[in-house]
Symmetry: C2
């Protein structure tokens, strides 16, 4: 049974709120509860009538997915009901089919029914029986997702291994005259081969002079004096990785080398602060102050964040944060320095919070070495 | 003004139904009405509170998008309102921000308000004023999307040019000993360079012996006697292309060559039937019968489909279909023959229905040439 511990935790959370039935529709909830993640699609799918759903009633869990996804969903170990998507001999009626499945499954529900209205399509509201009293629980599972199980940690490690592969390919592809797109092609090919399948890949692949904007690669030619920022995340098996390295097309200038050293130092300082009991807002402020003390502006983004079924999740490590780190959380830390139009450097490691500190899950070098 | 013709058509359709206000939430509706398509994401985005929306009132159109998408949305020429996604100094409240924008924009609505309940998140229902009477219009724009404008045709042509590039790269990569993943990497790299950016790419890239299942590439090694099916679609600028070619790792066997000739003939026969006034169900049945008359089983999928803001849309060319082709429609035709475990051949062209027949939009060779 995949994710049995998660369903146990969710069961306890629902019970504590007096909720005996719930319909989950948020992708992160569904993946966390079951281990099922629909393949990241190349675009909207005409045959899909809505997000995959999970129904909880009387301590039992049932998934509702598109027929084409039923085999993958069954690997979760939860009972699976499917609705009909693709048709050949009659008009597509996937929404009607999904509606009927939800209606049948929830027919006996009375009293409070937890729902996630931010992701539940409006038409499914009427599939719940009139005796049901919907209560919004969109945020219920969010805190429970922060501390990872061994099963989740294995999936995270597999994804962090893919970012290591991608960063290594990118490092070799950053040469004067190549374009951002060439670097992207190199890392995408390496990750696809290492994973043995297409993988969702995200984030930034840009010359440092435009790294303050970030974004996907463009046909920008790499110059001899460019730094190059690769902020890379992958998703395989429903879990994400993340990571960021900065490479150089030639030899870094003295200013680049000094800034790179400073950002490396800031990242190591940040990692040294990670331990159970650390306040996340305090961690954010300490790392920013480290750069300011060195006479540089701090970065216009978060210091870090959790990673799991979402590539960016709690605990966010940002100025307003007030969460206490616990052993078993997996977090990213990513200080940077940006001189728009000139250069940019960001370095990021992912780590498991352990009983005594942090175990790095990303293995790429963040110190610059000639 | 992008897509002004589409908004004019939608205005007429809404008026004809007596609908003076409408909130569109389906990705295909939004792209068709405005030209705006959010970059195909690598996964769910924590800062996104819902789909992009279009509000119609008193003949005026307004878009509602995530702050990070506002600049891209403004290129549509429609007024744009945005809600706040990413935060650094306070907790994420994107749903509350989106809710407030919808509430403010629709505050004066009275009487019938068209909505798309299959895609509208439930929480936004309460953002409409109590005096609004929601009426489902999910299917209203679907027929209007079939005949393309010149603006749409230009976007479709640009995407069909990308599939030509991808197929050409795939053809050269199909060699004994390479894997399906190698073929994929070659075509993905070629398309990315030709487009000058990351592009959503879909469909099948498999050895012919497993082409009846289709799907994304796996680490399957190509054998000397393999056919290879590449069914390729791309999306750039909100519009899709599609296409399918079958290549050979070595010299096709006499049986493969005969089947390839048959499928080519069937495709040419199908294309010869395309003209305004042709019934789509009749077209489907005629092409299946062509293969049966030659003593082969017909294919377990559609004969073809429209293509536009969705990669598969009306007019579907399937047994139950009963739509009449019109000049300006853009359709795909894709007969195939599958011998599971042995070989598989599918050939597909995209075309514009013209006053007298069909103009091919895909340029790849479908006859096999040594």
């Amino acid at each position: 049974m995949m994710h049995a511990i998660q369903r146990e935790r969710a069961h306890d959370l629902l019970r504590a709120q007096g909720i005996e039935r719930a319909l989950f529709s948020t992708p992160w909830s569904v993946t966390w509860l079951t281990g099922f993640a629909a393949q990241v699609p190349s675009g909207p799918n005409l045959f899909l009538a809505g997000p995959p759903l999970v129904w909880y009633a009387g301590g039992e869990w049932t998934m509702i997915v598109l027929d084409a996804h039923a085999a993958a969903a069954e690997r979760s170990g939860c009972p699976v009901l499917h609705y009909r998507g693709y048709t050949l001999h009659e008009p597509i009626a996937s929404q009607r089919s999904l509606f009927a499945v939800v209606q049948h499954l929830t027919a006996a529900a009375r009293g409070v029914v937890g729902i996630e209205p931010h992701t539940l399509p409006l038409f499914l509201r009427a599939a719940l029986p009139v005796a049901a009293e919907p209560r919004a629980i969109d945020s219920l599972l969010v805190p429970a997702r922060m501390v990872k199980t061994d099963e989740e940690l294995a999936l995270l490690r597999a994804n962090f291994a893919l970012t290591d592969v991608g960063l290594d390919a990118a490092r070799r592809a950053v040469v004067p005259g190549a374009t951002e797109l060439d670097v992207w092609a190199a890392l995408e090919h390496a990750i696809t081969l290492a994973a043995g399948q297409r993988v969702a890949i995200g984030n930034d692949c840009t010359v440092g002079r435009r790294a303050h904007q970030g974004g996907w690669p463009q046909p920008v030619v790499i110059r001899e004096d460019d730094s190059f920022v690769v902020d890379l995340s992958t998703q395989l098996g429903g879990y994400w990785s993340d990571s960021c390295a900065t490479y150089y097309a030639g030899t870094p200038s003295p200013r680049q080398a000094a800034l790179h050293r400073l950002v490396s130092d800031a990242l190591e300082y940040a990692i040294s602060l990670v331990r159970p009991g650390r306040n996340t807002g305090e961690l954010d402020r300490a790392v920013r102050q480290y750069l300011r003390d060195a006479g540089e502006a701090d970065y216009p983004h978060h210091t870090g964040h959790g990673v799991g079924v979402s590539g960016h999740e709690e605990p966010r490590i940002v100025p307003y944060a007030d969460i206490t780190l616990e052993a078993g959380m997996v977090i990213m830390l990513e200080p940077g320095v940006y001189l728009p139009g000139e250069t940019g450097i960001r370095l990021e490691h992912g780590m498991l919070v352990t009983a005594t500190g942090a175990e790095l899950l990303t293995k790429h070098a963040t110190r610059w070495e000639a």
